[in-house]
């Protein structure tokens, strides 16, 4: 042994310290019991009965501020414990704070664990952040650009003042309602960097956003859950751009459309020309019979060149085997002329109707026409060409599907940007 240094804790153990325990004393103002939880670290404590602020840095227990204001209850009471991020914390104090004008308010709870030290749990409009002092030098802290801290790249968020409006419990500094610090905020959701500066020091802290449900469960308290429209400053935007799912849906729909296009027969099964005169009014005309070998949809297209006139066709596609009829009504009109604005045109010379799939069988198209020309017996015959197609490719379903699919990302983008708008409304530079 001699002069050799040695570590022999078992040989001569120093007398163990008495167990650490919270200290209680009588409030020098009202005599009420005050419990000090972070003994030796707390500098000020408030009496829970008369809310006087007491200096507990030395034995003299001086009153700093007697009964400064009525007691205000916090959502989480002093003394409550919760396990957050794998460490058990006890609430030892809380502060109400606001920005310079007092438009924006928040609460900061001071959490204590004798082994792990302190954390702040900040609550602003039901959004929660667990904050830790960094003990790291951040050389560009306070600037308005992007800065690097603790291995993260932070975006400038806002700059303003934090005024303490109410304190309760114990603090490791002289917490008082006259505290005002300049605060600069940076975000890298879910992380947040806060730089607080006063005349004497710069304190850099890093916060992590906590889900209100997690905080409520940890404290076993029914805390309110923020609305999905209000964003927390460093909350990760929950409205993800789910583009992969949409892209997959578009691909599937397009594939289905290509296959159905390839499989559609698109056969011309009937083409007939009618020269209609006043004599045909109220009469039923019948097309030649045509055969459909398999089930398929039907498109009836009518073309007629009308000069300032109209045409109505009351049609029925009739299955001559079963006498089942599928009614179709078509109307055409076309007008044109000249006026002071030049030439004008209205209506069209063709129209088409799509029928849902009909069963196979022999069919005839029956039609009962009416037209403007029928009112003048001397008018020349109006030529009408009617074609019937079977197994026609359909684009409308595909286009509707595409439109609906695009609505989803458009809506998502809107929600995402509304969330960011709500977040950044809290940022900016206070004058």
């Amino acid at each position: 042994m001699g002069d050799q240094p040695s570590i022999l804790p078992s040989a001569e153990p120093p007398p163990p310290r008495t167990p650490g325990r919270p200290r209680t004393f009588a409030c020098p103002n009202c005599g009420g019991p005050v419990t000090l939880r972070a003994v030796g670290q707390s500098i000020t404590a408030t009496c829970s009965q008369c809310s006087s602020v007491i200096d507990v840095a030395d034995e003299n227990l001086r009153i700093v501020e007697a009964a400064h204001s009525a007691m205000q209850d916090a959502e989480i009471p002093i003394g409550a414990r919760a396990r957050l991020k794998d460490i058990e914390w006890e609430v030892v104090g809380y502060m109400r704070r606001s920005d310079g004008p007092g438009d924006f308010r928040w609460t900061e709870y001071l959490l204590f664990n004798p082994y792990h030290g302190y954390r702040f749990l900040a609550e602003e409009y039901d959004h929660w952040t667990l904050v830790k002092m960094l003990n790291r030098d951040v050389p560009s802290a306070g600037s308005e650009g992007w800065i690097d801290a603790n291995g993260r790249s932070y975006q400038f968020f806002g700059k303003g003042f934090a005024r303490t409006t109410y304190v309760a419990g114990e603090f490791f500094w002289r917490a008082s309602t006259s505290d005002v610090t300049a605060v600069t905020d940076y975000i890298a959701p879910p992380y947040r960097l806060m730089v607080e500066k006063n005349d004497e020091e710069i304190i850099v802290s890093e916060g992590e956003y906590l889900d209100a449900r997690v905080v409520a469960a940890a404290f076993k308290l029914p805390l309110p859950i923020p609305s999905s429209f209000s964003a927390g400053v460093s909350q990760v935007n929950p409205h993800k751009q789910s583009l992969a799912v949409i892209a997959a849906a578009v691909a599937v729909a397009t594939l289905v459309q290509i296959v159905s296009l390839a499989m559609s027969a698109n056969a011309l099964v009937s083409l007939q020309t009618y020269d209609l005169t006043a004599a045909n009014k109220g009469k039923t005309l019948a097309s030649k019979a045509f055969r459909l070998d398999k089930e398929g949809n039907i498109e009836i297209e009518t073309i007629s060149y009308l000069t300032n006139n109209w045409l109505e066709l009351d049609m029925e596609l009739v299955n001559t085997d079963t006498n089942r009829a599928f009614p179709v009504f078509q109307a055409l009109e076309h007008y044109s002329g000249y006026d002071s604005d030049g030439s004008w045109e209205e209506g069209a010379n063709s129209t088409s109707s799509l029928l849902p799939p009909v069963p196979p069988g022999t069919y005839q198209l029956l039609l009962e026409p009416d037209a403007g020309v029928f009112s003048k017996p001397s008018s020349p015959a109006q030529r009408v060409i009617i074609s019937v197609r079977h197994g026609v490719p359909v684009w409308s379903n595909y286009l509707i599907a595409m439109a609906l699919l695009l609505v989803v990302p458009a809506f998502g983008l809107l929600r995402r940007s509304m969330f960011e708008k709500s977040r950044w409304e809290k940022g900016g530079v206070a004058e």
């Binding site: 001699g2 650490g20 939880r37 082994y115 030290g117 302190y118 002092m133 790291r136 020091e201």
Partner: protein, 225 residues
Amino acid sequence: MRKFNCPSCGADVTFRSAQSVYAVCAHCQSMVVRTDVDVKSIGVMAALPDDMSPLQLGSGGEFEGQPFTLIGRLKIGWRDGLWNEWHLLMADGRRGWIGEAQGSFSISFELEGALPRDVEATLVHCHALLTSGKAAAEARPGFKVQLGSTTLRAVDIKLATCLGSEGELPFAAPKGRRTVAIDCIGRQGEFATLDHDGREAHAYVGRYLEWDAFRFSNLRPLEGW
């Protein structure tokens, strides 16, 4: 390890580090100074104000893979608070300090050799704190400090007063001993403290570490935790 009888009360006073010159008798709080062959009492220390620290003399821990034991403690007060400086003895004989303040833990070792000239100059500027309680205008926190290979920034300058001590210490730390303490931090958690007691300047360099990193053992029981 050397054992002496306390000249004041006769209880055992143990020096576990050969380099410790001062020790506080655990029984009567006498501060004992070790001479070559004997010990003598140089006064009685006040009982230390209590705290909720989980550390105690004899607590063990690890730093850079090497075990250490806490052998002494200074309780320091300043205008706005208190902290503990735990004196530690590493297995290889090196002695260092664990600062326990506001729930943060730093570990540091005295910088060997002469202090850089600008650090000396800063400490001289701060000297006014010791006498008048006010530092010179040049001594505002925020300046850079180069210590060995590390660049740090001074973040606060305090007038520190010893409120008491226990165990073994490398210097006499009577109640009321005043020093200027300048705390510095680096970008990666480096830590340094510069201090001046009116006669000598010292620099201690190390880093901030989380509680778990020290793997402390033989801790003091804490009620309710």
